[in-house]
């Protein structure tokens, strides 16, 4: 199963980004294979619809769980439609690595 984490940079030492649609990168972690992939957020500076575009990325990558700080109404609607689990973490001092370690446990 794949999990997407909103990230500030494209490395595991990078800090977690609490913004979903406005995060610069998305880290996709495959819990079965252990593979970690970074996808750039093309819509980071879009004037409209960044949230729903991010949700599309989630669905396009067959991700089943998303970890971010919050989800806007349009992103939420789309993620709910595809029954994707939304996990909210409020601590943005965490690194991507730390979150993945927690997922592994």
């Amino acid at each position: 199963m794949k999990t997407l984490i909103s990230a500030s940079e494209n490395k595991v030492e990078a800090l977690f980004d609490k913004r979903f649609g406005r995060a610069a990168w998305f880290c996709i972690y495959d819990e079965i294979s252990g593979a970690i992939e970074f996808v750039e957020n093309e819509n980071v500076n879009a004037s409209n619809g960044a949230g729903s575009k991010a949700a599309e990325t989630v669905i396009a990558h067959d991700v089943k769980k998303v970890i971010s700080g919050d989800f806007g109404p349009k992103a939420k609607e789309l993620l709910e439609k595809f029954e994707i689990q939304m996990v909210i973490i409020q601590d943005d001092s965490l690194t991507i690595e730390r979150i993945i370690t927690k997922l592994r446990k």
Binding site: N43, A46, S47, N48, G49, A50, S52, K53, A55, E56, I59, A60, K74, L78, F82
Partner: protein, 292 residues
Amino acid sequence: MSYKIAIASGKGGTGKTTVAINLLVSWQRVIGEHIELVDCDVEEPNAMIFFPEAQKEKEESILQLIPEINRDSCTFCKACVEYCEFNAISLIPHVRFAEVNQSLCHSCGACLVACKHNAINEIPYPIGKVSSYKTNNGYFIKEGRLKIGSLMQTMLIKELKKRVSEHSNIILYDAPPGTSCPVVETISDTDYVIIVAEPTLFGLYDLKLMIKLTREVNLPFGVIINKSGLGDRQVYNFLREEGIQLLGEIPFSKEYAGLYAKGDIVDKASEGIQEVYKNVVAKLSNEIMQYD
């Protein structure tokens, strides 16, 4: 041709509607039946509160065309997604998901041009209503009322303005508060902007924003200070330093505020206040003469 005046403020609650209604009353006495008040604050139109006896002469539902994607003819080529400036179209090929987000769509029609497979149709959705009223004492008022949940303020204001009578010599547009898109839409094609300000620090701050906007769209403007006697002299000093025309000053009156709260301000201004509005009308008539 009609002369269009917007009544705007930046800050909310400074007295736009109060000024608009008093100008309507005062001006109509001068020029007769060819003046119209248009309430452009489509999110919260309030001018009609003061005319409970008014007859609704016409009501029109305003529709927004929103594209719908037919999944059977869609090839998921994403041409429409690339054309869409507002990120309103979601296409996810492997799950055959194709939807247009209503709250992001601006009905520009670009996706219809983009689609080469005839997979997009436009479906009308109501965004609000435009109503025309005539009051017992012969005032003509129009208002736009946005449907709750719709984000198409600007589109509704545009449609409202298209329906203003060609026979009006003067049209007063009561603008929404703030300085965002709906305000720009309200003032953009007018000939003059009346900015209603209150003499407080907050009032001064928002007055400056409104003046900046009015200068940006290159329109002549003047300021009416409402609730004078409250706050301090900073707004007055600012207007003097900038050489901005002070059209009039309306003293704060607790009694008048009480009437406003009861929705009873039409023809209730004291003689002193009536005089202020008469002077404003005279000053603006002067502007109009120069314009003609």
